[in-house]
Subunit: 276 residues, 2 copies
């Protein structure tokens, strides 16, 4: 159980300095720290403590009238995680905006695994989502939400992807960023080469892909590669790997990358019997 | 071809009054008017002129250096649609925010069809997306984008849905709001009852739906019903119509409504041979 609630009545209290002006500070370097926002995400952060995920809570800040309803979730944190409570006026003063959700935590990722280590640890039957150049935090969060929904074993992001530990990405993912193992960094070709060497059938998703996504060959180890919404995947990836398309009406803008990845992961999970 | 470009050099010029402070004014009543933003949406608005859609452009306002690249699209508008051009400083002054897209139009929907008229006009083989209580403009835009991608013949929205002609919804839909026929209003039960009487198999989408979406019976006339993200569809709808689920890993938050609708429409389009 997390620590006994500590009441904060002064917005300048140094014990809650980490929560100050969270919206602005979230944009700068954070030394592995991240902001978890809302009940669902807090629950995922508690669950991460029970796994060797490297994610830990450093402190929790809650609107006083939310405390009663969060008892069960708070029970999932270690005793050395402080729980601060404040009324709405003080909470908004600290956070720097109207925190209507009333539930905040500062988390930290101790060690960030690299892609090779993550790939080496994958089970014999695996589904992996790889992404290149995803720069929008909403799309990043949605990719993780979809990966979790369809049981992907890992998410691999190249160095040109944005940070999934950004506050908004975590929120949009409904905490899936803290649940699905991921690595971020390196070059897309190297990443996908690593998957190929590990026996993965790598399928690059493109509106002009060769194979309809429902027709791809089932494989014990499947990887889906999603690219940026505007440009799509670069030619050097489309030419080197299998390509799959989601059939759609001609002459229209392609699907949003979040929806497209959701459809492709759904179809891959169905093909390999992960869902039924 | 739209009118010859008219140069605007004063942000207070009464000819561009309709474009003034667009971001704020978009939130209030607009007498059937809407704001189309960006090249892709402008193209859809031009295309709407060629159909009996009821959508018409009232005026277009463009950043001067974008004019050359828009010639082909502007050729799709009637000559009585004025085209105003301005430099960036004047454009931002008019719009009230940094209009980096540099392409704006004021559109108007002359007549808004009611659901009964829309249903009566549907072809024998039809796919319809119905939605209840969608209050988020991003989700609304995404629903239309998905409906267009999988060839839905109409979108029916109950009275508790937000307006798809809101600027952001149109933008997120990449203009699909101007392409897929839709009606908004009335009670969800009445709406779905109308579809049933017209021979539609109505499938309500829910994480606890009875039938996996890939297993639903094909039908010449299929309707998918999507509900709000938080609450989902109300019990009186789930109990009266068929229910379908998207299989996913247990114990997780359900998919985002945009992604869920995309997967369900994809699967329905595949089942009925609309895509392949």
């Amino acid at each position: 159980m997390a620590g006994a609630p500590i009441r904060i009545s002064d917005g300048d209290d140094p014990r809650v300095a980490a929560f100050r002006s969270i919206r602005e500070r979230d944009l700068v370097g954070r030394e592995g720290r991240f902001v978890a926002e809302g009940t669902v995400v807090l629950r995922m952060l508690a669950a991460a403590h029970a796994r060797p995920s490297g994610f830990r809570a450093e402190a929790i800040l809650i609107l006083e009238n939310r405390l009663g309803g969060l008892h069960e979730i708070l029970a999932g944190f270690p005793a050395d995680v402080p729980v601060y409570v404040a009324d709405r006026a003080v909470l908004n003063l600290i956070a720097g905006f109207d925190m209507h959700r009333g539930v905040l935590a500062i988390g930290r990722r101790a060690e960030a695994p690299d892609a090779d280590a993550l790939i080496a640890a994958l089970p014999a039957h695996s589904l992996v989502l790889a992404a290149c150049g995803i720069s929008n935090h909403d799309n990043m969060g949605a990719l993780f939400r979809n990966a979790a929904a369809f049981g992907a074993d890992a998410v691999l992001l190249d160095a040109t992807c944005c940070d999934p530990l950004y506050r908004k990405a975590i929120r949009v993912s409904v905490g899936a960023v803290l649940g699905v193992p991921f690595a971020r960094g390196g070059d897309a070709q190297a990443l996908l080469g690593g998957l190929t060497r590990a026996g993965f059938a790598v399928w690059a998703l493109s509106p002009r892909g060769e194979t309809a996504i429902a027709q791809i060959a089932p494989s014990d180890r499947l990887a889906l590669v999603a690219g940026t919404e505007g440009e799509g995947l670069p030619p050097d990836i489309l030419s080197r790997f299998h390509t799959a398309r989601i059939p759609q009406k001609a002459g229209l803008d392609s699907l949003n990358v979040a929806t497209a990845s959701g459809i492709a992961l759904y179809q891959m999970a169905l093909l390999t019997g992960r869902i039924g």
